[in-house]
């Protein structure tokens, strides 16, 4: 694994930007099948409160150690869970390539998610940092491991839609 800030070509950077732009836009549009397609066949997805991360505690708010669990959660969201009626808006900062590990790129990006209720009131719902491992596959970049480090770990109301 190479630490530091590896050099990358403009086209590599644009590919990363496209991945993160699609990631946020597809959640906000509730297009979860297309969103799931941004993940590799073998993947993980975790949302971990900063409170736990800093203490080395493993528990997450969302703990998908396999694609199966992630797909189950999305299905539960669609078919079983009830939650505050809202729309999301992801604002994702520019991704920063921080290293290469094996066949994966290690990438960080800060995010903020605003939620708007049915009466048009918007509040800052969450802010945090993505710390991801990304694979270069034949049909583009894919998330191998999505790690959502959640700064806003006192979750306002509840957390239903993915961050």
């Amino acid at each position: 694994m190479t630490e530091g800030a590896p050099r990358s070509s403009a086209s590599d950077r644009f590919a990363l930007y496209d991945l993160f732009v699609a990631y946020g836009a597809l959640i906000d549009a509730a297009e979860f099948d297309a969103w799931l397609a941004l993940f590799a066949v073998t993947c993980t997805y975790h949302i971990v409160p900063r409170e736990n991360y800093e203490r080395g505690l493993p528990a997450g708010l969302v703990y998908c150690d396999s694609r199966a669990v992630l797909e189950d959660r999305i299905r539960a969201l669609r078919e079983a869970n009830k939650y505050n009626i809202h729309t999301d808006r992801h604002l994702i900062g520019l991704p920063r390539l921080i290293g290469e590990g094996g066949d994966a790129k290690l990438v960080e990006a800060p995010f903020a998610v605003y939620q708007t209720d049915q009466e048009g009131q918007t509040r800052l719902f969450a802010t945090g940092l993505y710390r991801d491992r990304i694979l270069v596959e034949a049909d583009g970049l894919k998330f191998r491991d999505k790690f959502v480090l959640l700064d806003t770990f006192a979750v306002p109301s509840l957390l239903a839609t993915p961050l």
């Binding site: 409170e51 203490r55 505690l57 997450g60 078919e79 869970n81 109301s157 509840l158 957390l159």
Partner: protein, 417 residues
């Protein structure tokens, strides 16, 4: 005025909405419940294993430090400097030899004693405190602390019954069951809900809502009201255990019951069935055991996920749910992974709990406009408050309100208990 006349019935089957919204009620709760004769969950001994370890928490609105002194004794101290009322220990957790207020550096021992004051004698004989100033009278106030197998409770009252009497036999047995061997902390989660804290305290005692609001339970066959289960309370009916036995009903019975209630019950398979699969860990068959301890603690087993929730009042219109996720120190790695996976079920993003945040927010929001209207609490019958061996019931809510009324001094004459 908050008085006994606010209750339309003597069995607490009607609760006026004002109790969720009146600042007067909130102030009296802080005084007579949280600073009154109750035992409040503080944390776990396992969180402060070493001398000097501390954590900060709350009893109602009162900030509290829980720490272990060099002898291993645990103290709980009101986290407020005797000088200017500032919070002495600002960090969530850590290890320290003493607690020093940043404002004027008044320094306290881990037993709460005031050890030193800067410039106590002034400078060159000028200024400082009068020699008669009594250091011993200006320590951090100690709470009384008691433990059930490492679950720590504290009280700010001088005249409260011993913890074991307060909990009573059924609740004590549940806590001893959950803490039957050393626990380990898997992590924390927090949730800020825009609702009065009592709506959450009621929610955890409400067996009726579980499989209706939390559709995941039924859709994926984790828990159904057709299972053998019920509610069990202490003699005073202030606490409650909601319990159910694993695999104690049949698919046919559930289809019949939920079909009539127009609730989907199609037992869709999960791609990862481990999310809900119950690994039996004890001689008893309980896969649901939710123990609510008045006023603000909930000890939770849902399948193999284990947790303690602390209900933190945050003003009349907001509550924080602070949840500590647990495993056992002797869990093999695959069981730890199983518990971490099943932590998906609970907490603010929980597959069978996220709905509670929404349900109590909409109850808080819509009830605000009409303080004299009431809720209806009659599932499982009105009248006498007693244990039930079935699940379609909310009787323990009436037990909660009965004890609430007693503590607030608004219990009507002839009320059920």
């Amino acid at each position: 005025m908050l008085n006994a006349a606010i209750w339309p019935t003597l069995d607490y089957s009607r609760v006026p909405y004002r109790l969720y919204h009146d600042p007067e009620a909130y102030q009296r709760e802080q005084e007579r419940i949280f600073r009154g004769p109750t035992w409040n969950f503080l944390g776990l001994e396992a969180e402060i294993p070493n001398p000097g370890d501390f954590r900060t928490t709350y009893v109602g609105d009162t900030p509290v430090i829980v720490n272990r002194d060099p002898d291993g004794t645990i103290h709980a101290l009101v986290n407020r400097c005797a000088h200017r009322g500032a919070m002495v220990r600002r960090e969530m957790s850590g290890n320290a030899r003493e607690h020093t207020c940043i404002y004027h550096q008044w320094c306290y021992g881990l037993d709460g004693r005031l050890n030193s004051i800067p410039f106590r004698r002034g400078i060159r004989g000028k200024g400082g405190l009068d020699p008669s100033f009594d250091m011993a009278a200006h320590g951090l106030r100690n709470l009384r602390v008691a433990s059930v197998n490492g679950a720590l409770f504290g009280t700010l009252a001088d005249d409260v019954e011993p913890l074991e009497d307060y909990l009573d036999a059924p609740v004590l047995a549940q806590l001893r069951r959950l803490f039957d061997r050393p626990v380990t902390i898997l992590g924390y989660n927090r949730q800020r809900i825009r609702a009065n804290w009592k709506l959450y305290a009621e929610n955890t005692r409400d067996n009726y809502h579980a499989s209706l609001l939390h559709e995941f339970l039924v859709t994926f066959g984790l828990d159904r009201s057709t299972q053998v289960g019920g509610v069990k309370m202490d003699a005073r009916h202030r606490h409650n255990i909601t319990w159910a036995e694993a695999e104690s009903d049949t698919a046919e019975l559930a289809q019949e019951a939920y079909g009539a209630a127009r609730v989907r019950s199609n037992y869709l398979s999960l791609k990862e069935p481990e999310l809900v699969r119950f690994r039996r860990e004890r001689a008893d068959p309980l896969n649901i055991a939710i123990t609510s301890v008045f006023p603000s603690a909930v000890f939770v087993q849902i399948s193999n996920s284990l947790a303690v929730r602390q209900i933190r009042s945050r003003g009349v219109d907001e509550v924080e749910i602070f949840q500590t996720m647990l495993g056992y120190a002797d869990d093999p790695p695959d069981l730890t992974l199983h518990r971490l996976r099943q932590a998906n079920l609970v907490g603010p993003a929980g597959l069978v709990s996220m709905e509670d945040g929404e349900a109590i927010e909409i109850a808080h929001r819509a009830s605000k406009a009409d303080r004299h209207s009431t809720t209806v609490i009659e599932l499982g019958g009105a009248g006498v408050i007693s244990d039930r061996d079935y699940r379609v019931t909310d009787v323990p809510l009436r037990g909660f309100w009965s004890y609430y009324a007693e503590l607030l001094g608004i219990e009507p004459a002839g009320a059920v208990r």
